[in-house]
Amino acid sequence: MINILTGIDSTSSALNAERIRMDVVSQNIANVNTTRGPDGKPYTRHQVVFEAVLNDQFASTSPPGSRPLEVRVPRVELDRRPARLVHQPNHPHADANGMVSLPNINMYEEMVDLMSASRAYEANLSAVKTARSMALQTLSIGKR
């Protein structure tokens, strides 16, 4: 099949990856005060891992170092930082010393992450837009 939109493989994989990242960040923000999960422990911050993947389309023409790459999220990992301890003796989940473990989520960190994910998403969208205009331009060769 001919590829009429140049670079669409890389771009769509990136849109997908950034979308997953936004989902994970919003999950973290939603659970910023969750003190009990299904496992009986406070919620732990999740984070995405990005990984570059070789684009097979160029396999025959270019050496591996100089091929366009796609991006994917191979897994979502747990943040290993310890939970925040807050003194709240009247909380139902407080321990014997009156300390409650809150999730290890820093709201500012999550907001910055969310913003950079949405910026990256926009950048990739503008790449698709440009590819589309380029394709239309190419199709109009020979017309006046």
Binding site: T6, S10, T11, S62, S66, A120, N124, Q137, G142
Partner: protein, 127 residues
């Protein structure tokens, strides 16, 4: 000898440049996709291509121009300003994206122009 019509060096060079802008768009999409991938190094069209093309055009040899093969290469001039070793910078990448789009537009217009001139020469009327 219908091929003779399409063997002018200028026309071939414009065609080759069109291939280059498609390839460069591929590289820029890959760079934008991997904006936040650790250790990713930005790609671009191999820097020696411009010299090869201008050499071939000066030689005015149609075969030499159409034998040129633009390739992608890791951009060794880009330096990383981040801790994760990634050399992509969003702003300059978007600038390159727009610049490449305008170059592509220029090249399609060049090709269209030379085709319309051919048509004028064949039919004798500007249609």
């Amino acid at each position: 000898m219908i091929e003779g019509l399409f063997n002018q060096p200028n026309y071939l060079a414009a065609k080759k440049l069109l291939d280059v802008s498609e390839l460069r768009h591929e590289a820029i999409s890959s760079n934008l996709a991997n904006l936040e991938t650790p250790h990713y190094k930005r790609l671009d069209v191999a820097p020696n291509f411009a010299a090869q093309l201008s050499h071939a055009v000066h030689g005015r040899d149609p075969g030499q121009i159409s034998d040129l093969k633009p390739e992608l290469a890791v951009d060794t001039s880009a330096v990383s300003s981040r801790k994760d070793g990634n050399t992509v910078q969003l702003e300059s990448e978007l600038m390159r994206l727009n610049q490449n789009y305008l170059e592509h537009q220029l090249e399609t217009q060049l090709i269209t122009g030379s085709m319309l001139r051919l048509r004028l020469a064949i039919t004798g009327r500007p249609s």
